[in-house]
Symmetry: C2
Subunit: 451 residues, 2 copies
């Protein structure tokens, strides 16, 4: 039997609790710390974006033996529902027949994951604030306040699963030669809600991811099991339409009425939530290294926070755990090797999904209403359907596969180059579905394959 | 008379003491804090690189009325002295007749600047550690240790001049939407020393900046007033020749003998210093914003640390002070406006000098020995001499002008594009000084000007 380690995890979010579950199943002693109260006992924060669980997330849950449990909490979304101003809603399938992403409420999933980890024997210590970490000794220091009395804990390993503003990473950052960046975009977000109909049914198609792209800003809505939708308004902090300018109820009502006429019955709900819920910022965090010898490792957002526009934040974090546990399987308790291979394998993929998520931010907010962009997508789609083995769209590579994100980025760049060239063909708008265009793409693919 | 403010500066380095001097001259009360001891009373740290004072630095000193005092500490360097393996030393003039950069020992200059600021009435509080800053109230908290008793100070304004690992910035970084990055290069450095001859004269040409470019690594030497040279060895942390591999005296001696044969008499000095002095890392720090309302501002490395390969770190910091004080002149005590304009003006220039410094790292270490690079430089030089109004080299724009760094970067990119095109002309090695090439550059310049 494997020698059992005494392991701390800082952070009881999704990634922390999945890791706790896995490590318990491997026979380790696991203590999970969180500065916040138990999410099972309090109202969730009102700053959440619904999760879009996709292939990588399911794979990690399957490996932890809890896929079926979680499936019960999820609603499959087979398509985007595009609410473009003054057009009827139209739908874009995400993938092939049966391929879907799954909407899950963050609060609901988090509570379930903690339940599962606790049932497996992990100890959860809520409202216990970690203030300092001794990296080389794997010690944690907790207490009421940063300047007050601290309690010292001794562990064999510590995982930082404490999110984009990780305290564990903060300590690693003080070492020399630790690369780090945090970059905020100029757009923030706000959680809003569309309640269920009186009979508990959904007010919009429940198997779609709803998008209202409006150039500088965007509203999205994802279904919940109780018939409601969790909406997220992405809006600039400053500018004509922004969190800075929409400060009165009248202004908010006018904003919702002007830009989201097809849900005008929800205006009072949206307006109420607009002023009740906090405005949150969106950050990309990159750092390296992610580990410290055989003592410390960062996982999930603590290592690689991304903007949410590819719906991959949680999936990428779950994939960290998947990779880590596979390495644990291979290298048993040789944690120095595990951590080394973990960061080498994950870092390029984390950078790739950060880049892809940022690009999707540009695409979803501003381009989804641009006719040239739509034409481009139409050409790609037609070609991909006819030559599925030659053209797997980036979205599918990211969402419906478990091949490395870095490969998806590389292929995406290659495809983008080809499409740039195709879109510059004279008269492309007219001849977009001609054999000439198809042949052109085939020959460009050939060229790029031979390079 | 202008209303006097009670101002704190954190950091008694070059930029902090220049700012203290300036603010005293403007009638403010100034207290300068440093966690380290008074540099006038202790041996300097042995991790210094000699300063190359150039136009921007001198301008700031002139505005503070101390240019002449500092000139006495400086040795003009008119040229690079290139020590290329197995060739005799050759020289490259820096600029036009009389243009020079000035070698100054960091310790010597820092002591002088503190003397000057103190004489002007600034209060210096050494060995007093700042642990926390209240941004909105402009309060400082100091004490023996982070967890111990703290003393509270109340100010009107606080400047963070506390370097690349600034504590003041650290506090600003905790705000939402604060962009930050720290990026270390894989090369570190070590201070070494070549002592004077017995008669006090210099062992190498004293009016040159000496460079031994060796591909992956590089040695430089800059003269001091006492006849010695401060040398800096830039060497990778890992790899064949690296701080990781050179760990014995024998290995160091062999390294110096193999690669720096023309200073083989210095081997024992170099070897002694190699093991006595610390190895330091090199970091680029970027952040934004630099200011907090009318309360807090970052200056110098705290706002924009750059790698030292353009010799502009201190010059850029001094230029911050120059710009700040000019804005103070214009806007009197409207510090909110001063800070806003200061960061808007300086940020693009700080980003530009970071980029230019990083590029020079690539250029100085690996390319200065490459024949193609030397040919390229030769063509540029010839053209610049013939058409001085049409082609001011980037080095001159950065070093011998006070036009914005961002313009130098832009012009540099344009020139690089032209030179890429020129270098790809067939037979360029033979016809490099032909009229054809000259005409080609002229027409490319014309084109780029019309774009």
């Amino acid at each position: 039997m494997r020698h059992s380690k005494n392991i701390a995890i800082v952070g009881t979010g999704l990634v922390g609790s999945l890791l706790a579950l896995h490590l318990r199943r491997s026979g380790h002693t696991v203590t999970v710390f969180d500065r916040r109260p138990d999410v099972r006992k309090v109202e969730f924060s009102g700053r959440s974006i619904n999760l879009a669980m996709s292939n990588r997330g399911w794979k990690a849950l399957r490996e932890a033996g809890v896929e079926e449990e979680v499936r019960k909490l999820a609603i499959p979304l087979y398509q985007r529902a595009m609410h473009v101003n003054s057009s009827p809603v139209y739908f874009q399938k995400y993938g092939k027949e049966g391929e879907a992403i799954y909407s899950i409420s963050r609060g609901v999933l988090n509570r379930k994951m903690i339940d599962l980890a606790e049932a497996a024997g992990a100890e959860f210590r809520f409202e216990e604030k970690v203030w300092d970490v001794d990296l080389s000794e794997a010690k944690l220091y907790t207490g009421e306040s940063e300047k007050g009395e601290w309690k010292e804990y001794d562990f064999d390993l510590i995982f930082g699963a404490d999110g984009a503003f990780s305290r564990v990473r903060h300590k690693m950052q003080r070492q020399s030669r630790f690369n780090y960046s945090q970059h905020f975009i100029d757009v923030g977000y706000k959680e809003l809600r569309i309640p269920a109909n009186a009979d508990g049914t959904h007010k919009l198609d429940k198997n779609s991811f709803h998008i209202w792209p409006r150039g500088e800003f965007m509203l999205i809505a994802m279904p919940n099991l109780d018939g409601s939708f969790t909406c997220t308004l992405f809006l600039p902090f400053e500018g004509e339409y922004s969190f800075e300018t929409i400060t009165t109820e009248a202004a908010a009502e006018k904003f919702f009425a002007d830009f989201f006429p097809d849900i005008h019955e929800e205006i009072s709900n949206l307006t109420r939530d607009f002023f009740r819920n906090p405005t949150s910022a969106l950050v990309t965090v990159k750092c390296f290294p992610w580990t410290y010898y055989d003592k410390i490792a960062l996982v999930g957002d603590a290592a690689h926070a991304v903007v949410p526009f590819f719906g991959q934040g949680m999936n990428a974090g779950f994939e960290d755990i998947s990779d880590l546990m596979n390495l644990h399987e291979t290298h048993d308790n040789d944690w120095e090797t595990i951590f080394k291979e973990y960061q080498e394998r994950r870092k390029p993929n984390a950078d790739a999904i950060a880049e892809l998520s940022y690009r999707n931010f540009m695409e979803m907010s501003s381009k989804t209403a641009d006719p040239k962009f739509l034409l481009r997508k139409k050409i790609e789609k037609k070609f991909a359907e006819k030559h599925p083995e030659k053209w797997v769209p980036v979205y599918s590579r990211v969402t419906f596969s478990d091949k490395p994100y870095s490969e998806a980025l590389k292929t995406g760049d290659m495809q983008a180059k080809i499409m740039d060239s195709v879109m510059s063909l004279p008269g492309i708008a007219e001849k977009w579905d001609s054999e000439e265009v198809e042949q052109r793409i085939l020959s460009l693919l050939e060229e790029s394959g031979n390079r």
